[in-house]
């Protein structure tokens, strides 16, 4: 690979890198924009309730609100530890 090729390839990647970064960021921001503002608080309180009975850490729970034309689905995903009795 000549020196010229090296510069060419590095240049060619900068716009595509920009696009890749943008696509990820914009997708994330659009989804968090459409989530209601109460969701983080709801997640915190649900976690506290569950932790009273099962010992999970906060990464073990994900919460997601999906909106389609005529219905909203609140999806709660909790990964229980192997021996989950407190």
């Amino acid at each position: 690979m000549s020196l010229l090729d090296y510069f060419r390839s590095s240049k060619a990647s900068s716009a595509s890198l920009a696009k890749e970064r943008l696509q990820i960021l914009v997708a994330y921001e659009r989804s968090s924009d459409s989530q209601p503002a109460y969701l983080p608080e709801l997640q915190k309180e649900l976690l506290a309730v569950i932790q009273r009975y099962v010992n999970i850490n906060k990464d073990a729970m994900t919460i997601n609100l999906e909106q389609t034309d005529n219905q909203e689905t609140l999806e709660l995903n909790i990964v229980l530890p192997d021996a989950h009795r407190v």
């Binding site: 060419r8 240049k11 060619a12 990647s13 900068s14 716009a15 595509s16 920009a18 696009k19 970064r21 943008l22 696509q23 960021l25 914009v26 921001e29 659009r30 924009d33």
Partner: protein
Amino acid sequence: MARIIVVTSGKGGVGKTTTSAAISMGLAKKGHKTVVIDFDVGLRNLDLIMGCERRVVYDIINVINGEATLNQALIKDKNCNLLSILPASQTRNKDALTLEGVEKILEELSKDFKYIVCDSPAGIETGAHLAMYFADDAFVVTNPEVSSVRDSDRMLGLLSSKSRRAERGEEPIKEYLLLSRYSPTRVKSGEMLSLDDVQDILSLHLLGVIPESKSVLTSSNAGTPVILDEKSDAGQAYSDIVARYLGETRPHRFIDEKSGFFRKLFGGK
């Protein structure tokens, strides 16, 4: 009934005021009575770009506060008598701009003008919100650059949720893309986002691509909207944009290096 156009972007320095000046002049030159309003209270610049900075006596805040009538505040453009400018206030604080005040002004202008162009300030504060709140059409000015594309996407979200049309559940604001400061040469060498890259993310109706052009600076130096520089590529790009907005079909140009070069060679058109 007037059509209200907001020129917006979120990010600063992408060419909102240049665009507002150019398209309002373009619409007026096409025979439509047009008024362009500067919403950047505290940092007005439209007057400077339009070359009427020494003729500003009253401004939009004076009108809202009842210290001047709309007719006293409106400045007739020196190049085109169908175009008027309503300047922003330079000194007062931004809270002086109110929803009710703006609504009243727009209602009154609607009786007299065909097009009302609202030059939005950067950011998403009061001025930007009020500039877009009553809009029918949004011209989203974007540069082929990451922060500008991201901010434009953010503005699109606000246009579809925080405008009067959205709140009333009316037909949404029509959103158009104006991709400015575009350099086909740099796109070709892979160091600038292409039109397709930007459209993959924003997917808007494209009104036109404005090439990076020296004439934008020389026009602002002189205080004449760049669209009046008919020989310049940026001036031609804005003429195309106005024509397309008014329903004419014009092929897109300034996108590829080759056609840009040939057009330069044969003197545009």
